[in-house]
Amino acid sequence: MKDVFLNIVTQNQGIIHKVCGIYCDTHEDRQDLFQEIVSQLWRSFPTFRNESKVSTWMYQVSLNTAITHFKKNKKRPDRSEIGKSIYLIPDEIYDDTFEDQVKVLHKAIAKLSRIEKSIVLLYLEDKKYEEIAEIIGITQNYVRVKMNRIKGKLKKLMEEEA
């Protein structure tokens, strides 16, 4: 069973990286969250019976873990990493304009609530409202209303940043 699990997680680990990237400010926090998500996936793996898609199950567990993740109280989070290292931007695509865009993206997302972050992540991943609703456990109507509000909020935040 463990081999099957490791195979699934290895193949779909991009999901976990994205969730960690959107919820964590520092490399250390991302590593902690990544490990906790893998462990929660392993805990819930016996109950996963292919009734939903693997990606749906992985998004559900990863987002559940990220939203309920307990971060120990530390001194001010180190935000100096925002930019190249926060999303592990490779050198080949790295330039100043791109760095600015990543900073704006990160700053705008950081100001959203935990639920809003999960909706935005799934939206950016081109998920349909139906799937977003299934993953987060809310109605499509709620996703639609919430998404409209988030779009407005993000636009305003990005204008401020610009």
Binding site: L6, W42, T68, F98, Q101, L105, I138, Y142, E161
Partner: protein, 234 residues
């Protein structure tokens, strides 16, 4: 920067990040080195609490049975009367029993919640279960604090009365000759000292819990409140 640019930036980062993959061995190592999550840590703390309190009670029983009788023989003039000693011992034993019962009751409830939590996939229910676990832990924390404060109050009062009695005997004072004003001073100093001791204990416990979990609990409650917006939207 428009929303579409944001999406493009996201896609660019995502496609590049896809290339950075951990292999199965790395993920297996992560799994083997996993640490406990918050609810598991609470479960561990309850177990440790029970072990500490049982060890403490064992020590207390040993002292009561072995050391106290020897001390009574050494001290020719006991400062506390026999009845008072028995009364104090009974109260102390009762408070320990209350703490054990409290921990066991919480342990049973914790397991009931955790059983649902471990297989829960619905986010709203998961947050609710996390809040329930933390509230349960908080309640246990405060109930034990109240029991400890009760114990302190009893011990402090007994010591105060005993000290007062021995002083009146030593100075051959007649209690009926003590003026109302002096009684008032004695009573006020007793209450003030007791109040200060209890406040310090309460403040330290309260600070400890809030520092550990206060912000997290608030965060979870806010997230749950956000979910409840569903009702207002439909």
């Amino acid at each position: 920067m428009e929303l579409e640019d944001l999406k493009k930036t996201w896609d660019k980062i995502s496609s590049e990040n896809e290339k950075r993959q951990l292999n199965q061995e790395d993920i297996d190592t992560l799994l083997k080195n996993r640490t406990l999550d918050i609810t598991e840590k609470i479960g561990r703390n309850i177990r440790i609490g029970l072990i500490i309190i049982l060890a403490w009670i064992g020590l207390w029983v040993a002292i009561e049975m072995r050391v106290t009788p020897k001390l009574e023989k050494i001290i020719s003039e006991p400062t506390l009367s026999g009845n008072l000693v028995n009364w104090m011992t009974a109260i102390e034993g009762f408070t320990y029993l209350l703490i054990i019962v409290a921990i066991i009751v919480f342990w049973v409830n914790y397991n009931r919640i955790e059983k649902q939590n471990s297989t829960q996939i619905n986010l709203k229910k998961k947050i609710t279960l996390h809040i329930r676990t933390l509230n349960l832990y908080k309640t246990m924390f405060y109930i034990i604090l109240i029991i400890i404060l009760l114990n302190i109050t009893v011990a402090f009062s007994t010591g105060f009365i005993s000290g007062f009695n021995s002083q009146t005997v030593a100075q051959q004072l007649n209690i009926s000759n003590i003026s109302f004003f002096k009684w008032l001073i004695i009573g006020m100093s007793f209450l003030l000292t007791l109040g200060i001791v209890i406040s310090i204990y309460y403040f330290l416990f309260h600070l400890f819990f809030n520092r550990l979990y206060g912000k997290y609990l608030k965060q979870l409650k806010n997230t749950l409140k956000e979910f409840d917006e569903v009702n207002s939207l439909q």
